[in-house]
Every structure is written in C-alpha cells, then in structure tokens.
Amino acid sequence: MNRDRMIKTFCQLVKIPSESPDDKDFIAYMEKLLSKEGARTNVDDFGNLIAKFPAKDSQSKESILFCCHADTVKPGKGIKPIVDLKNDRIHSDGTTILAADDKAGIAEVLEMLRSAKKHPPLEVVIARCEEVTPSGVEFLDYSKLDSKIGYVVDFDTPDEVIIGGPTYIVFNVKYRGRAAHAGMAPEKGISGVQCAAEAIANLKLGRIDDLSTANVGVVKGGININSVPETAEIWAECRSIDDKKACTMAEEMKKIFIDAAKKFGAEVELELTTSLKAYTIPKDSKVVKAAVESIKKNGLKENVKYTAGGTDATHFNHGGVQTAVLGIGARKMHSTEEYAVISEMEKTANILITLVEDLA
C-alpha cells in the first residue's frame, strides 16, 4: 500500500466536481481510470459504472463487489484539498466540502486494486446520485452482476461493519383549515397550525427503541400574524430496522395526522412514501466474517452494527447481493468542516487489501 499514491489519487478525484445529480463527468473519468487498471467497463442506462476485474493469482470463481458513489453534496465545486501530514488530516479550504464522502472510499478501493498481490474476480461499481432520491443503484440491472456478496465503502471509520439498514417511510402532510381575521372573527376560522400542533403533540417521536426512530423535521404554517393560519405543512419520517415495526409506526402516525384534522374540521392531504426497505445480514455470514477477520488482522477491534441511515447497501441486498458497509476514515461529512483522517484512510486501504487477498 502506497500512502502517498493514495493521497495523490484522492486529491485528483475531489478536484473533479460531481454535485448530485451532475456526476456524469466524474463517472467518465472513473471509467478511463478503471480501464487503465485492467477492468472491462460498462456504463448502464442510468449512468452507473460497473468495472469487472478478472481474478489475480487466484482460482476463486466467486466474484466480490465493491461500491462507492460518484456524487457529492453541495457546495462541491472548486474543492481545494489541503494535505496536513503533521495533523494526520486532509481538509478543504473551508469554502467547500472535502468530498471524502465518498471519494476517500474510491481512493481506497483504487489503492486496494493497485496493491493487492492476489484477489478473486472483482466488480467495482461507481454509483450515481447516492445523495439524492432515487439513488442511482435503484436502477442497476442486478441480473447483470456476477457477485453474490459485496461491500459498500461509504461509512465513517475503518472499524465499522454495517450489517443492517432501516425501512424508511416519509410523510408529507398538508392541513387546510379556513382563514379569518384573527382580531375580528377568529371563531370563523379553522387553524391549520392548531391541527399540526395537535397531531405532533400526539405522535411518538425521537428514539422509539433500539431499532426505531421517528421525527418531525419541518413545520411550516401561516403567512400573516393577524390571520388565523389556514394552511400548515409537516415533513415527517419514521424508520426501523424491523420492517413490520416501521409499517406499524407509520399506520399509527397516519391515524394521528388524520384524527387531528377531524378534531378541528380541517382537510388533510397525506403523502406516504416508503423510501427504503429494511435488510439485515447474519453476523456469521461469509461477507461479515471476512470483513471482521480483516479488521482484526489490521489491529482494530471490529464494530459490527446496524445503521439508521440509508446506504446503497439496502438496494444491493434487495437485489440479491449480500452487502455490508465499511468505513472510509472521514468526519463531519456534508459540511464545509469535512476532513479525512490519513491514518484511517491507510487503515481502510489495508483492510480492503487483506480482505481480497484472504478471499483469493
């Protein structure tokens, strides 16, 4: 593993802007790069890149998949990476994100490809639009993939192995009451805000149990201080690693939203969308054991857990590829304070190398 080569590659990658959904140029760049590394490349109709590498010094026929995403959040144009070896970090100049999420992952996968002495057949997927909905991997043709197991390299720290993700249900609620002058004839009005407040007061929110959460993230109601506010909007969500629980929670929340409208005689428009479906992989499955082994061999204590956030692993698992998520060694992602921890990037690269060499 060549640290300086990896850092140089990483800095090259972040300088190519790829704010969602404008990540196609970056995908084209990655296609050339992976081709040079010896892959057979293909870009699907949505623009996701799939690069296939034959086995190296290995009789194994079992292909392993690695996936990183091409796109970044904003502000991601004109990124100037600053390498601070003394403080073991790489950061931006403060005016943009760093894009370690997820280009540190890509750099680590590239370093793995360049350094591993042997490996089974590999599939490297560079996915579009992970940071937005729908995610690029929702459009992958899973029947064209060779791998039955894989790793999404997109989490926080090298010791992490994510083995489950949530069912994620999204609510958009709109109340419509009746406007009226608040001082003259409030009794003629029906307040959309009061409906929203009634509903929210009755919802179970925050951490529900170890596997489940619910949140009201945004409330917008009323336009004038002296009018009874006719309309109010709520953006809410619920999640659970247990799919049944998530669906039950959603039904309860739906009923509470509707009851609040009934109480005040207002109309309610309710949009419910299941954005993600839960998945879990067994702790003793090959894909998890191999990752844990490699993490241990590289001197870390493994941190095997579920995530409440959405990752592309959800779609791979539902598409028939048993996929865990590994960390990349970055902090404060989705902000201009984002930075990569160089020693953690090295650790991740080594973990990936050990992983594929052991599976060869």
Binding site: H181, G183, I200, N224, V228, E237, T307, G309
Partner: protein, 360 residues
Amino acid sequence: MNTERLISTFCELVKIPSESPNDQEFISYVEKFLKIEGSKTKLDSYGNLIVKFKEKNSKNKTPIAFCCHADTVKPGKNIKPIVDLEKGIISSDGKTILGADDKAGIAELIEMIRAAEKHPPLEIIITRAEEIGSLGAKNLDFSLIGAKKAYVLDMDSPDELVIGEATHIHMDVTYTGKAAHSGVEPENGISSVLAAVEALHEMKLGRLDAESTANVGVFKGGEARNIIPEVTRLQAECRSLDHKKALGIAEEMENIFRKAAQASGTKVDIVRDIISSGYVIPKDSEIVQTYANALKVHGVNPDIKLITAGTDAALFNEKGISAVVVGIGCRKIHSKEEYAIISEMETATKTLVTLVEGLA
C-alpha cells in the same frame, strides 16, 4: 359621484402590489395621482403620505383628516380584479386577495374629493405597513397633521362605525433546541418544534371572550426532514378591549411559552410589542354623530360599536386626534375570497361626500 370612475380607480389601485412592508411603490403612485387633483403632498421620514387640500367653497378653516393604509396582506401580487356588474361585486381571480382592504377606502376618498362641491380643509393620510402592526401610523409624523378629528376607512360594511378598539399586542417567539441526525442519534437532539407545540397545545386561542382574542398566525420550524429541528419561530398576538386584560393575556401566553421551554430544555426568546393601546370615543361626540347622521341620509342605520381588531385609529387617538373607523364595502378580507360590494362602495362614498359638504 361617478360609480364607473370609482370602480375604475379601485381596479387601477389593486393592480399595484403593496404586500407589507413593500408598499412604497404604491404610495408613490397614489402621491402622483393625488398631485393631479390640486393638492400639497408630502412624505414623512417613514414614507407615510400626507396630502392636504385647501377648503373648497367654504369659510371653514378647521381641517378634518381621513386615513387609509397602503399595504395589503399576502398573497397580493398580480391581482386581477373581476368586475361583475350583474352580481354587483368585484372579486379576484381566486389566486390572490383582492386588496379592497384597504384600497376600496382609498378609491372612495379619491371619488369623494372629485364629487364634493364644497368641503373644509382636508388632510388625506395614507399610512404604510398597517397589516404588520400599524408601523406606518406608529411612525407617522403627527406634527405634519393639523386636524384634531380623523376618520379611518378600514371596516367591512358602511353601517359599521367603530368608536373603540382593543389593545393589541404582538409576540415574536423563537425556540432554540439542538440539531441531531434523526435516525442515527435523535437522543442527542432537542426538538424546538416539540417545545412550540407543547406551548400551543396548552394555550387558549381564537375568541377568548366578547372583548378578547388570541392567535398564533405563523409557525416555522426545522430545516430538513432528517434533522431534529433546532430553531422554531412563532408569531403570536392577543387583543382585548380592556387594556389590563390584554396585558394579562399576553403575560399568560408568555408564561406558557416559557414553561414549555423549561419543560423541554430549549431556550426561548420572546419579543413583545404593544402595537396599540385601546380607546373609546363617547357615542354622543360630534365626530361620531356627524358621520352617523350622514349615514342616515343615505338610508343606512349606523351600527356603532367597539371591536377587538386593530386599526390605525388607535395611534391617532394615542396622539390626541379623535379618530373613529368607518366601513368601505368589502368582505372576507385577508383571504383569496375577498370581494367588494359595489353598492356599498357607492354608499360609503356618498356618505363621505355628505359628511364633508356638511362640514364646509
């Protein structure tokens, strides 16, 4: 009095947007308009318009003032007035308010000036930003006004003659909690939305009794669906004909806001603004009786009363200028169903003409 001219003036006025506080363009327009009518116009330092007309066919040197507000509530851009002569009403296209509140009043004043054959010195005052707390009237340069009696045109129906108003108090309330990722670590966040909802749930809102009201007109909280909402802002108000009661209601509301902050561990900032102090003009005073008599001349039975709404009249009375509020012929103000009744606009105009001719 020329009805066609009255309607045409009104339609011209509503087409110029003046959503509070962006009413300066409209004031400029009215200033130019009234300059043509042979008058002395002046803007005070806040941008309120004062137009003075010399007495006409009259030896009376005592000026009398009339006041309307320039601004409207939202949504007030791109107003398209629809005149239905058969039904006798003017309405909007349903996408916006009409702006009859208060431009019907302005149109009637302009028509009064054109139609009256004689009158004492007149002072026409067009105030800014009435809908957001009578800010224009609060900042009006009263040294520019000679009149000791004023009629504010701002009620719905011509028979309404308001001789007293409520004390009107605004409260701007901001809750600050703590943001956190809603799925990964909701227990590390503190929801400002929940704090605000807790307060609202406990609060008595709407009509509190025959002389008091309370309202929360605007509720805005949170930034994104998947973040525990850190900041929530409420705009609330209360009114009472009884000044002490109004202060008591505001005190109670603020205590409830504070209690909710304490219970939730959020910070709350409350800015209280006493928009106007209530007043009552004696029923048998000249200012009331001259208008009542003018109404009767035109077949209208005056409905002399006190209201909980706020108008600019409260600020005039505070400054020692006796002011009452009269009607202009509109309904469903502060909503997209707002409309003007042509026959009532005519009646209001005729009453004004009779009034000023009687005082000449």
